[in-house]
Symmetry: C2
Subunit: 205 residues, 2 copies
């Protein structure tokens, strides 16, 4: 639970959002364990008291970063993608959305890993994993697509969705490990992956 | 650089191997940062002096775990897989080998992540990444397979190989995060991934 003002005034909300934005970057570059509240306090340029007024601990702050980004993404996906009401177009748009998100904001996909790191700590506040939300989203599209005959695949939609989300997640981690900061390499490989998925899942009927 | 006996006598070699085996498990379960030399010393049941006789620091020990497993895997792959001299069979066998390795030894794939964690620390002794070795191996098979007409794909073999290795690596991490210790889920999804790769890369001519 947080204490203090969680954004009930416009100024409070702006401060809270600024802390979340900066914290997302610091967590993404240092990892949850290695980040200290002091690192974030220094970067955000507020007093210790001002930060702790909004977030009672590092774990609470990290969970708020995860929750805020998860709800922002799901809202955008709802508006831009699921509104198409066409599973084939939804799958294509979702793939492009994921690639665009990673390319436009270096800390964006890091939030997924922050959630995993947080889940393995003692202080875990217990929010659901954004990875699980992505898998559910993709599984829903696959299921509707197979029912309407535009998508074809064997096995359980949840397993197929996990393979897709995991391939994307792995591509981000592996490219970060082998070719750090090489966004061109990520984009080239991600497009190759989308092309594989297109050939794999689009029904040939 | 290590100091002390690195295994020049049979007894020294046995002790060194036992330390490496235990350390691989401890690093896999706690991660590099969270592991202390004392944790490994306790698990292995030797004196502090005996461990430091073989490995001068935690980073050196972790690098030795990575190097030992990498050379063991590459030797097995060389003997069991590349000896087939048939890129199609090699790709299939390699996929099965990776799945079998993960299923038979819980810390096996963790070594890949240990290498990544190590690479991001100040104390990194500077060994090459096992991920890069896997990518090179797969890229070589893809290249020979395309040249001989049994494998078909567009783009650079290195990029396609990275997508394959990353899909596998991501599947392991994502299944660990969403369904910890569910080896059945991993096996089911890994077989789905191998089936996708089979349909994707095998030339239809």
């Amino acid at each position: 639970m947080e204490f203090g003002d969680t954004g009930s005034t416009p100024k409070g909300a702006a401060t809270r959002n600024e802390i979340l934005r900066v914290a997302a970057d610091v967590f993404a570059s240092k990892g949850f364990e290695q980040t200290r509240m002091d690192d974030i306090i220094r970067e955000v340029g507020l007093t210790k008291g001002a930060i702790y007024f909004h977030f009672s601990s590092k774990a609470m702050l990290a969970q708020a970063v995860v929750d805020e980004q998860k709800s922002r993404w799901l809202r955008r996906v709802q508006e831009e993608i699921l509104s198409k009401n066409n599973p084939l177009e939804e799958l294509r748009s979702l793939g492009e959305f994921m690639v665009r998100t990673v390319l436009s904001d270096s800390s964006a996909w890091g939030v997924v890993h922050l959630a995993n790191q947080l889940a393995s700590t003692k202080e875990h506040p217990g929010g659901a994993s954004p990875l699980a939300a992505w898998v559910d989203l993709v599984a829903g599209i696959l299921q509707r697509g197979r029912a309407s005959g535009v998508l074809a695949f064997s096995g359980d939609p949840g397993d197929a969705a996990t393979v897709i989300v995991a391939a994307f997640d792995g591509l981000k981690s592996v490219t970060d490990a082998l070719d750090p900061k090489d966004l061109d390499a990520f984009e080239r490989r991600a497009n190759l992956l989308l092309q594989f998925l297109e050939q794999q899942f689009i029904s040939s009927q």
